[in-house]
């Protein structure tokens, strides 16, 4: 069975601007303009989905399943969105997104702390990979 893998992580602010983007897959890093475009695209889709949703009190897309990937999205009450693109069928992405949110609040308050955030984030993602491989 193929090891479940995380391809990339995006963090966008409440107005749709990209705060953080990290590529974990083998596809190579998207260039800055493309990543900004993807971020605002997702932001718009997320907002539209809230309007279109037939259920009351819907807070937007949480999971997008496609042939080649799954996209899990978490939105905090402050409107900051965390979404991760991963291999189809990857489990526990919701929990991972919550962990990322906590790391974000601890380390993203100042630009200086970005390195620490990166480090801790890699550890969290790595831990996830190892846990899944062990299954």
């Amino acid at each position: 069975m193929a090891a479940a893998a995380i391809y990339s992580l995006f963090i966008i602010n409440k107005s749709g601007g990209l705060i953080y983007y990290k590529e974990y897959g083998s596809a190579g890093r998207m260039d800055t303009n493309d990543s900004l475009r993807v971020a605002s695209l997702w932001h718009s889709m997320h907002a539209i989905s809230q309007q279109l949703s037939p259920t009351v009190g819907c807070s937007g897309i949480e999971l997008l399943e496609a042939d080649a990937f799954d996209l899990h999205c978490f939105q905090s009450l402050t409107g900051t969105k965390f979404f991760v693109v991963c291999e189809p069928g990857t489990l526990h992405m919701d929990a991972l997104l919550k962990v990322i949110y906590e790391l974000y609040t601890d380390y993203m308050e100042m630009p200086i702390r970005c390195e620490l955030f990166d480090l801790n984030l890699s550890q969290a993602v790595q831990k996830d990979r190892v846990a899944l491989l062990g299954r």
Partner: protein, 152 residues
């Protein structure tokens, strides 16, 4: 009540890194002293403290939401209670109480029995009208604004 139990203020306070209490109190005191020297006008200092608090609050709210695991409060009463019981406990290690509700339920007082900011502090007469702890109201204002609650 939310399905996933929100963590109590005590539990979170115990799990985060702490700063020495005296250092915190004295640093705050030094900041207020310096502001009084620089700005001279008590009203200006109040405004500055509020602004500083606001800048802290807009960041603090995410940390609060991430750690406390609370869901959106149903009404303002719940909001005030959450701030007093979980918020203050989590960040300052003290519990506040909510009193003085007006008839509409739109206005209340949050009272801190034990306020770490004011330990050892004495205000001289020249500082009449200084809201020494105004940074706290700024923090609350900033935090609530980020979750779309506009308040005075």
């Amino acid at each position: 009540m939310p399905a996933a139990a929100p963590r109590s203020g005590d539990a979170i306070f115990a799990s985060v890194e702490h700063v020495n209490a005296e250092l915190f109190t004295l640093t705050y005191g030094a900041i207020v002293r310096q502001l009084l020297t620089d700005l001279e006008e008590v009203d200006e200092v109040n405004k500055q403290l509020d602004q500083m608090g606001y800048n802290i609050g807009i960041r603090l709210i995410d940390e609060f939401l991430a750690k406390a695991n609370v869901s959106r409060c149903v009404d303002f009463k719940e909001t005030a209670e959450t701030i007093a019981k979980v918020g203050f406990k989590m960040f300052l290690g003290v519990t506040a109480s909510v009193t003085n509700w007006d008839a509409d339920g739109t206005c209340c007082s949050i009272v801190l029995e034990d306020n770490p900011l004011v330990d050892f502090v004495e205000l001289p007469d020249t500082c009449q009208g200084l809201y020494y702890c105004n940074v706290l109201s700024g923090v609350i204002r900033g935090a609530l604004e980020m979750v779309s609650v506009h308040e005075d």
